[in-house]
Amino acid sequence: MTSPTTAARRVAALTLIPTSVAVFGAGLAWANSHDPYAGSSSKSGTSSQTPDDQLAAAQAKVDDAQAKLAKLQAEVDGRNADAASQSAAAASASSAAQPAAGTATTAAGTKATTQAKASATVAKPVVVAAPAAAPKVQTVTKASTKP
C-alpha cells in the first residue's frame, strides 16, 4: 500500500515533467536560433538554390516565352490568311472589269498587273484606277514661233 508521502512525491514528479519538457524545448529553440543549418531551413530564397535549380528556373521561363511566341505567330498567320483571301477576291474582280472597259492601254494594263502582284505579296486590297482623260484646258503653254 502506497504511503501518503510516496503519493505526494509521485504527484510532485509528474508536475515537474511539463516543466522539464518546457525547459528542454526552450533549449532547443535557443539552439536553433544559433545554428545556421538548423535555422536556414525555414527561409525561402534563391540564395539557397543550387545551380541546377537556377538552370531549371531559367529553362522554365524560356519555355514560357516560346509558348507565347508560338501563340502570337499562330494569330498573325491567321490574319494574313484572311487578308490574302480578300486580296485575291479583289484582284479577280478588277481583272474581270478590265476587258469590259476595253480601252486600257498595254502600258496601263502592265502597270495594273504589277500593282496587283505587289499588293498580293503585301496582302493589301488592290484598287485599279482607269487612266483618266485629260481635263479640258483653257490655254496652252508651248514653244514660241519666235524667241
Partner: protein, 321 residues
Amino acid sequence: MTVSTDLAVTFTSMASDIEIRVVDPAPGAEEAVDRAVAAIGAIATHLTRFDPESALSKANRAPAAWHDVPAVLADAISAAHSAHRVTHGLFDPRVGATLAAWGYDKSFERIQTEAVGTTSWDIEIHRTLRGAPVARATWEPTVTGTVINLGGSPIDLGGIGKGLAVRHAAAALADAGRSVLVDAGGDEWLAGPGPDGDGWKVGVEDPLGRDEHVLVLAVTDLGVATSSIARQRWTVRGVPVHHLVDPRTQTPGGAGLAAVTVLHPDPAWAEVWSKTLYLTGAADIAASAAALDLAAAWVTVDGEIGLSAAIRPFVLWQVTR
C-alpha cells in the same frame, strides 16, 4: 442670276498670236485692256532686232556709243542684265551674234524659206567667260527718254522680251476683272481663280508633236513660260541648230531636252528660268531645278517627262505612256 460676259482680245505681235481675256470684267476693264495692248506693242516696237529702225537695232549698230532710247528699252536691258547676273551668265543676250551668224537675223518664217547665210562655224564660234558682265550696260534718264551704252556688244532681247511684254500687260490688267489671262504665244500670265473658279487649266504642249498635252496644270496668279526646240530648228551647212544657244560654248544647248516649262510669279522670270534650265541639259536639269527651288517640268528628246518637287502641287493631270 448673274450673267457674265468675258472680255477677250486677240491680235498678232512679236510674230505670235496674242490673247488677252478678262473674266467678269470690272468697270474700266476695256481701258485696262487697251493699256495692256499698248504695252505689248511698245515692247514689240522697240525691242525687236528684226526691224532695222527699232531702238534696239540702232543701238546694236553702234554698241559702243551712247544712244537716246525709250524707257521701255532701257528697262528691258536692265532686266536682262539682272537675269545675266542671277543666272551666273547662262542667260546672255549677247548670243544674238551667234544666232545672226547662223542665219537667225530675220524672222523665223523667212529663215524657213530662204537660203541660210554662208557664215562658217569656225568664224562665228567664240567663247565667253561665264559670269562676265553683259557689256556693262549703263543708262541715265534724260528729258526725252534714257541714254544707254551697250559697252561694245550688240544684244538680243528675245530671251526675255515676251516675258516682259506679258509682265507689263499683267500690270495694266491688275484690276480689270475677277480673272485675267495674257498669252503671248505660250508665255503667259494667269491671274485669279480662272473661268471655273478652281484655277486656270493650262495644257503643256507636247514638244515631240503629239496632239495630246503632256501635262495639265492648275494655275493661279503665276506666269508660265515654255522654252522648246519644237519649232525653231534649222540647219547651217547640214548642221542642225536651234535658237537656244549656250553662251558657254556658243553652240546649241540643252543636250537631251526637248522642252522646259517653268511657273514663276513674274512672267519675265518664268521665261528667263525656262531658257536657263533648258541650257543645263537633261543630265542636270533635275538637280538645277531642285537647287533653285523652281516649279519646272521638262520633256526629254525621248519623250520622258520630268517634274521638280515645286511644280507637283500644280499638276492636275499627266499623260500616260
